[in-house]
């Protein structure tokens, strides 16, 4: 038999070369879990169901007079859902509800679980958009914020105080799900990191609330930061701070701040407004939750890109927390501003901004957020008694202008709100909302922005990040 090898070798060589030439690189797959998610987000898709988690005390707590969870329908059709109230003993009460378009449903958790001191409320909203928030009143002030829609397995509480006398703080862990959760709590007080046996392996039974009294464990600490690592399951974490004004800083107020569910390399808090009074004070608390030393800086964002304010540079060891005093004179005369905390080495950071009003009283703590969005919903309550109500919007982009517009979803529009405004990158804008009846506003933007609300009344203050519109969230680009 005569067989030729030449053609076969030629074809083989050609094929190998072709295969090598067309060889592709590594395939990059989109991770479904990499979608940014705001702490509170409203779903406008009629087919979707949203879960809202509201954690807090009831009137059973001596420092609290009342707590109301409010569901506001913002769709054009009736909104149906179900409210589940659980307490620290494991009781769970479910009720279905239906509210008309633009209607409001008020739920007093204490009435569902009588005798309970703390109660978690899960609001399940089906087939229509609704915003859920809660308001807390007490002898020392009030707090009004949206509830959170996010349950997570790591939380950071950057700021609380147990400084004696007159300050009490709790870390609330709400498990709205069926299975028990187990969490490890770690604290950083004035004398460093603190861990106690009873803060490790804290079991949060399914459908219950656990209130961890920080005052008892980390007593007399001017600043207490906490991290919550959930070993099993997911929980919702909030921090209740009650200060009666008798403490060293004369802080008086009632603050129910949500925890920070994720650390990031860039976090933001828009909407600071200096009062100019000496007793007042603003600060940013930065916590390094990682295991390595990190370098960060606190940058001020104003309406102008070039404002000339020097950032505060920080170097934080693992688990270390630092309080940046905003009243050191750098901010004189710059007007309303926002704050960005960014790390210089790519390591994540958590932060919280607080403002206390010394003489009149009032405490406002806003955990910084890492997620921007192109749509925000702002639920404003009755503002006849307030002195200032400020809606602030920050453009966190490194480059690119964001054009924002404000719409009214329900209620009467505040007169001072500008319908449309352009925001340069790294700037913020504030609108004084003035007095008025309850209103629900929508902030729409051509690029991801961050919206927050700050309200100041005679003897109280409260502030919160607005509710993002689900699906419009985005993570700001890393800084250069």
């Amino acid at each position: 038999m005569i067989a030729k090898r030449g053609p076969a070798i030629a074809v083989l060589a050609a094929l190998v070369i072709a295969a090598a030439a067309t060889s592709s690189g590594l395939e990059v797959r989109v991770d479904a879990g990499d979608r940014p998610e705001a702490r509170s987000a409203v779903v406008l898709d009629r087919r979707s169901t949203a879960l809202w988690f509201c954690t807090g005390p009831t009137a059973g707590l001596a420092e609290v007079d009342a707590r109301i969870v409010e569901v506001v329908g913002i769709s054009a059709s009736p909104t149906e859902g179900r409210v589940t109230v659980v307490d620290e003993t494991g009781r769970a009460v479910e009720r279905a509800f239906r509210i008309d378009p633009g209607g409001r449903l008020e739920v007093s958790p204490g009435q569902f679980v009588s005798g309970a001191v703390f109660a978690g409320v899960t609001v399940e909203v089906r087939g229509g958009a609704a915003v859920v928030g809660q308001t807390l009143w007490g002898p020392d002030g009030m707090d009004r914020r949206p509830c959170t829609t996010r349950a997570a397995d790591t939380w950071v509480v950057p700021w609380s105080t147990t400084a004696r006398p007159g300050n009490r703080a709790w870390v609330l862990l709400h498990n709205p799900f069926r299975a028990a959760a187990v969490a490890d709590l770690r604290f950083v007080g004035d004398i460093g990191r603190r861990e106690t046996l009873d803060s490790q392996g804290v079991v949060v039974p399914g459908r219950s609330v656990v209130a961890y009294d920080v005052t008892e464990r980390i007593a007399d600490s001017a600043v207490v930061s906490a991290t919550v690592d959930v070993r099993v399951g997911r929980v919702v974490v909030a921090r209740l701070q009650v200060s009666d004004g008798s403490g060293p800083m004369a802080t008086r107020g009632l603050d129910l701040a949500p925890g920070v569910p994720e650390a990031a390399t860039r976090v933001f808090v828009p909407g600071f407004a200096r009062t100019g009074e000496a007793a007042d004070g603003g600060a940013v608390v930065v916590v390094n939750t990682g295991v390595e030393t990190m370098e960060a800086e606190v940058v001020v964002r104003t309406a102008e890109q070039d404002h000339g304010v020097e950032p505060w540079r920080l170097v934080l060891r693992s688990g270390q927390r630092h309080v940046v005093d905003l009243d050191d004179g750098r901010l004189e005369g710059i007007g309303p501003f926002g704050v960005e905390v960014r790390t210089l080495d790519g390591r994540p950071v958590a932060a919280s901004a607080l403002y206390r009003f010394g003489e009149a009283g009032g405490l406002s703590v806003r955990p910084a957020v890492a997620v921007a969005a192109r749509g925000w919903v702002v639920d404003l309550g009755e503002r006849y008694g307030s002195t200032t109500d400020v809606l602030a919007v920050m453009n966190p982009a490194i480059e690119g202008i964001a054009t924002i517009g404000v719409k009214v979803l329900a209620g009467i529009a505040p007169a001072s709100v500008v319908r449309s405004v352009e925001l340069s990158p790294g700037t913020q804008v504030s609108f004084d909302l003035g007095a008025g009846p309850p209103v629900v506003l929508a902030v729409e933007s051509t690029a991801p922005v961050i919206a927050s609300v700050h309200a100041r009344a005679e003897s109280s203050a409260t502030g919160s990040i607005a509710v993002a519109v689900a699906g419009t969230e985005a993570r700001p680009a890393a800084s250069r």
């Binding site: 067989a3 030729k4 076969a8 395939e27 991770d31 479904a32 899960t122 069926r178 399951g233 689900a470």
Partner: protein, 1096 residues
């Protein structure tokens, strides 16, 4: 009445008294021998035979010719015609007596007539002392008669016979023996050179029939031949009677009869005669013997008839059948022979293979002689041959490979396989696999009509007859794929070269990482391909019939079977039917092999056998399509599933089982390879072979290389999605399956390369170098080849140390809390078996399911994920994609809704279908054992964690995240009219498709098992009216029937269509097998005179 036409003068003899009747034995020199010839045809060798008699040195021979021809010689005195018989005889032996008896039929009556006529015609002449019968056309040696007579006198034998040689001197016949069922067995089965090797066996049961001598007094005493005997078997029958009467039968090797004619044309009596002879002998047995042996013969006859029909030997079957009425008509004459003792047990001593009952049965059933000294079966002889070959060149390497395989599998052999991936355990109810195949229904995915490959039914059948545990059977089947594949490669390489080639081929094939990786990751398709593909390549190479697999372009190699085109088509069709039965996806590599062979052959510069190969493949494919006609009609689009559905789809273990495979993966023969591996060294020898091989070896090497290229090209094209997107039907093929084709090609090329490696490399070296360095270059190249092979096998050697090839030793089910098994027949449970919803990467899921991503969104984040639903724990029946069942579609839709944020009560949606547990799988086996990591997106876990009615079960192994559904409903339940509450019903399983349900409440009974149109419902024995979903008094989204408390509901699977299809399939397979067998047999017969089987 006979007439006589001539006479001769007889001589007197001094007769010694014979042993029979007290007569003295004759003296040899004076004994009168009457030679008798019966002429019943043209007798072309008559003159030669008579001349032989005339030339005898024995003085007293008288010749008697009996002419029994119906049409006699010419009449009148016409001239120029052929001479008459009388003229022919008279010309040579004028003193002969010729008896014309045209009315006589058969040799025995002819002889009797002749003797009677002689007695009348030669009244007064001395009676002959010996009768010499010459039925065959043989020429006796000059001294033959004398020696026969002398021998008869010396040993006092009653019957003596010469040895018969052919025209070329080959020994053809000496004597015969009888087996326990009366089959005659020739001492010399086939012509062989006569070197006196048979001269030691001088006392057989019967002498050769071509020429033999008997004492006349003994012949008279035994009343001559049996008048009702079978024609052509007179010598056998008479010798047997003579021995029974006490006469000796002897062979005289010094007396030689030479057959006249052409060499190798010797034929034993036609096969039609043997069954009659055998049965007549048994009919003449004493009653006890008759009762003992005839039933056995009847059974053997039945088996023989089936065998004859099965192999196309219809004459054999007909002979067996017709022997019975023939003998029953002659039963009286046979029974009369009992008195004279027709039969006597065989002279075969105990332990002699001729006395073997097994061989006796096989002779009856097969009609074969089975006369050689080698009494082993064909299979045993082949096995022994293979075993012997192991000790030949390369045998040690094979033994080491076997030892390594056994050593490396020791834990698996002792402890069994651990279920992982698609390699799940067999069902608890042993008959379920077979029943599922027969009924065309499985419980997978809430109930599906797809039953998986036909091979599952065969596995189910094996489970039924396997004497040990089903786990052990599964272990044998899985590990057996290694041995089957290795043996297939052995067979493929056999015609190429000697033992060294086969050994290298087997070593290369066993050294590829594909089967070990498949075992580790739990992928069935590559294992099936590993076992099947070498055989398929061998089949297609044989179909091409190109040397060394046929006669085209050279001599066929060892073990090559030459077939007709028709036989090749049929056998190829049967092979393709089997391939589809094992796994339909194997059709893809089969096509690749075909294309590779065509391309490879064309590139060698010839078209030899291409047209034949195409004819065979097209014909075989058409036949296979006919056998699988319902499937072909189904996949052609009538049910909407198409090819992708039939092949299983990428999600069931196809391309979804692996990441992108690049050139590195192909060269590493491992789809999971991250970089070059030792398997790359296995390419060295084939590469050298491509450069160095010559002649027919080069032809094989090029064809083998293009089989490799075909598979590799398809891999690359599928990887790049040049042949369709990720939903393409071709992506249902596991990359490992195509890599197996690459491995087969490499092993094949290696075998061809090593066949003439030394000389080929020397030739190559001479081309690149001259002088003394030639040897150095040659040795260097050889060293590279040896080093390459050594490096290639190192991973296997290292892997064998663990004893389990790195497979997991625990399965996911063992760490899954609170999940039970399935119902077995006769078992009852309230509400039905709780279902498990599995989700994760299809590679690590323990059951096949459906993609989580929607068909139009293959590039989305959920693309790699799949969901599967099993009743309780998964088993082997869950390993083939169930398709889009109603339950799976709803469950997937619910999950997608949850992922889109549309619901936070997923448990309620899942629970309606009886899903009690949701298991997210991120690893193929529990930690910390070996396993494949396939983490699911965090988003999935986040969504599941947010469900208000799913409770995560803690303390479960890290490979799983398990959620208990707090709102699960029973799959078989009654929805109360009053409050719409769901009440579980008591369900009893009678068989897989027969359920009995007892209604616990008044309301609507619903069954969450599909497909809806497959179940027939009866309530209290009467056909029930099935309410459509949403109908008044029914339930939403499901069909239901109205029941009252205590009603007994029968739920039966409607399997009419499937069973009809299966019956048709079985008939078609049987018919195809029968045709293939017939075609093969006819080819064997037609080649019997030539080189039918080349088996060096």
């Amino acid at each position: 009445m006979g007439t006589w036409c001539g006479s001769s003068v007889g001589n007197t003899v001094d007769a010694a008294p014979p042993p029979i009747g007290g007569q003295p034995a004759p003296r040899a020199s004076s004994a009168l021998v009457l030679a008798m010839l019966v002429v019943d045809d043209e007798a072309p060798a008559l003159e030669a035979v008579l001349a032989g008699l005339l030339a005898q040195d024995h003085a007293r021979i008288e010749v008697l010719v009996v002419d029994v021809r119906l049409v006699g010689d010419r009449v009148g005195n016409e001239l120029g015609g052929p001479p008459s018989l009388m003229e022919r005889v008279g010309l040579i032996t004028p003193s002969s007596l010729i008896v014309r008896s045209p009315g006589v039929s058969g040799h025995g009556p002819a002889v009797a007539t002749g003797l009677r006529v002689r007695a009348v015609e030669r009244t007064g002449s001395p009676d002959p002392q010996f009768l010499l019968f010459v039925p065959g056309q043989v020429v006796l040696g000059d001294t033959a008669v004398r020696r026969l007579v002398e021998r008869a006198v010396e040993v006092n034998a009653g019957v003596v016979g010469p040895k018969v040689v052919g025209p070329d001197g080959a020994l053809e016949e000496t004597g015969w023996r009888f087996d326990p069922l009366g089959s005659p067995v020739p001492v010399v089965p086939d012509p062989e050179p006569d070197q006196g090797q048979r001269d030691v066996d001088l006392r057989p049961d019967a002498v050769a029939g071509a020429a033999w001598m008997v004492r006349a007094d003994l012949f008279a005493e035994l009343e001559g031949f049996d008048p009702d005997g079978v024609d052509g078997t007179g010598h056998l029958e008479f010798c047997q009677r003579a021995r029974t009467a006490g006469a000796a039968v002897a062979i005289v090797p010094s007396a030689v009869a030479r057959r006249v004619g052409v060499p190798d044309s010797v034929r034993h009596p036609p096969t039609l005669a043997w069954p009659r002879f055998r049965l007549r002998r048994l009919m003449a047995l004493p009653l006890t013997g008759l009762l003992a042996r005839v039933p056995v013969l009847a059974v053997a006859t039945l088996a023989g008839v089936f065998y004859g029909i099965g192999t196309g030997r219809f004459r054999h079957a007909r002979g067996l059948l017709w022997a019975w009425p023939w003998n029953l008509r002659r039963l009286g004459s046979a029974r009369r022979k009992v008195k004279v003792g027709t039969l006597r047990p065989s002279s075969a001593v105990v332990g002699d293979h001729r006395g073997s009952w097994w061989l006796a049965l096989r002779r009856v059933a097969t009609g074969r002689v089975l006369a050689g000294d080698d009494d082993r079966s064909d299979g045993l002889r082949h096995l022994n041959s293979a075993f012997g070959a192991v000790f030949g060149p390369g045998g040690l390497a094979i033994m080491i490979a076997v030892a390594v395989l056994g050593f490396g599998s020791r834990s698996l052999i002792v402890d069994g396989l651990s279920p992982v991936g698609r390699l799940q355990r067999l069902p608890d109810e042993s008959g379920d696999l077979l029943a599922a195949w027969w009924a065309g229904w499985r419980s997978t995915g809430t109930g599906t009509s797809g039953s998986g490959p036909d091979g599952l039914g065969l596995v189910g059948l094996l489970v039924g007859i396997w004497p040990y545990s089903s786990d052990s059977l599964w272990t044998v089947l899985v590990l057996g794929s290694f041995a089957v594949g290795a043996f297939g490669i052995w067979r493929l390489a056999r015609p190429v070269g000697g033992g060294r080639s086969r050994a290298v081929a087997v070593l290369v094939y066993l050294a590829v990482p594909i089967p070990y990786e498949a075992l580790r990751t739990g992928r069935l398709a590559p294992l099936a391909a590993y076992a099947v593909m070498p055989w398929l390549v061998r089949r297609l190479a044989g179909a091409q019939a190109m040397a060394p697999y046929g006669l085209r372009g050279g001599e066929p190699g060892p073990g090559t079977r030459l077939r007709s085109l028709w036989s090749d088509v049929l056998v190829t069709g049967l092979a393709l039917v089997a391939v589809v039965g094992v796994d339909p996806v194997l059709l893809v590599p089969a096509t690749v092999v075909f294309v590779g062979l065509v391309a490879g052959t064309a590139l060698t510069g010839t078209t030899d056998g291409l047209f034949r190969l195409m004819m065979v493949v097209v014909g075989g494919a058409a036949l296979a399509a006919v056998v699988h006609l319902p499937t072909v009609l189904s996949v052609s689009g009538s049910d909407g599933r198409g090819w992708a559905g039939w092949l299983g789809g990428p999600i069931a273990g196809g391309w979804g089982a692996t990441d992108s495979i690049g050139l590195e993966g192909i060269l590493s023969l491992n789809a999971e390879a991250d970089g070059p591996s030792a398997a790359l060294a296995l390419f060295i020898l084939p590469a050298f072979a491509l450069v160095a091989a010559r002649g027919r070896h080069l032809s094989v090497v090029v064809r083998a290389w293009f089989v490799v290229v075909g598979a590799a090209s398809l891999l690359v094209m599928l990887d790049r999605e040049w042949l369709g997107d990720s939903g393409s039907a071709l992506r249902a093929v596991d990359p490992g399956v195509l890599l197996v084709v690459v491995a087969v090609g490499l092993a094949w090329a290696s075998a061809a390369g090593v066949a003439g490696l030394g000389s080929d490399l020397a030739h190559l070296a001479q081309q690149v170098h001259t002088g003394r360095s030639v040897r150095m270059v040659r040795n260097g190249l050889l060293g590279v080849v040896v080093a390459g092979l050594s490096v290639g096998v190192v991973p296997v050697l290292a892997g064998s140390l663990a004893g389990d090839w790195g497979t997991a030793r625990t399965d996911l089910a063992s760490v899954l809390p609170g999940t039970g098994g399935r119902l077995v027949d006769g078992q009852s449970v309230r509400g039905g078996v709780a279902r498990v919803l599995w989700m994760g990467d299809p590679t690590v899921l323990p059951a096949a399911g459906v993609p989580l991503a929607s068909p139009g969104d293959r590039s989305g984040p959920w693309d790699p994920l799949a969901i599967a639903v099993t009743d309780g724990l998964p088993d082997l029946s869950d390993q083939w994609a169930p398709g889009e069942t109603a339950g799976l579609a709803e469950l997937r839709s619910a999950l997608r809704s949850a992922l889109d944020g549309a619901t936070h009560r997923l448990g309620a949606d899942f629970g309606r279908w009886g899903v009690a547990n949701v298991v997210v799988v991120s690893r193929s086996a529990p930690v910390p054992g070996p396993g494949i990591e396939r983490p699911v997106p965090d988003r999935l876990l986040e969504v599941l964690a947010r469900q208000l009615d799913l409770e995560r079960v803690e303390a479960v192994n890290g490979a799983l995240v398990v959620y208990r559904n707090t709102t699960v409903e029973a799959p078989f339940s009654v929805v109360r009219d009053r409050n719409r509450r769901v009440v579980p019903a008591l369900i009893e399983r009678r068989s897989m498709g027969d359920l009995v349900i007892e209604a616990p409440a008044d309301g609507a009974l619903r069954w969450m098992v599909g497909p809806d149109d497959r179940w027939r419902v009866r309530v209290d024995g009467r056909p029930a009216t099935v309410l459509a979903s949403g109908e008044a008094y029914g339930v939403d989204h499901r069909p239901s029937v109205r029941v009252a408390t205590g009603s007994v509901v029968s739920l039966k699977l409607d399997d009419g269509w499937s069973t009809g299809r299966r019956r048709l399939q079985l008939v078609m397979v049987g018919l195809l097998a029968l045709l293939a067998s017939w075609a093969r047999t006819s080819r064997d017969v037609s080649l019997a005179g030539g080189q039918a089987r080349v088996d060096r």
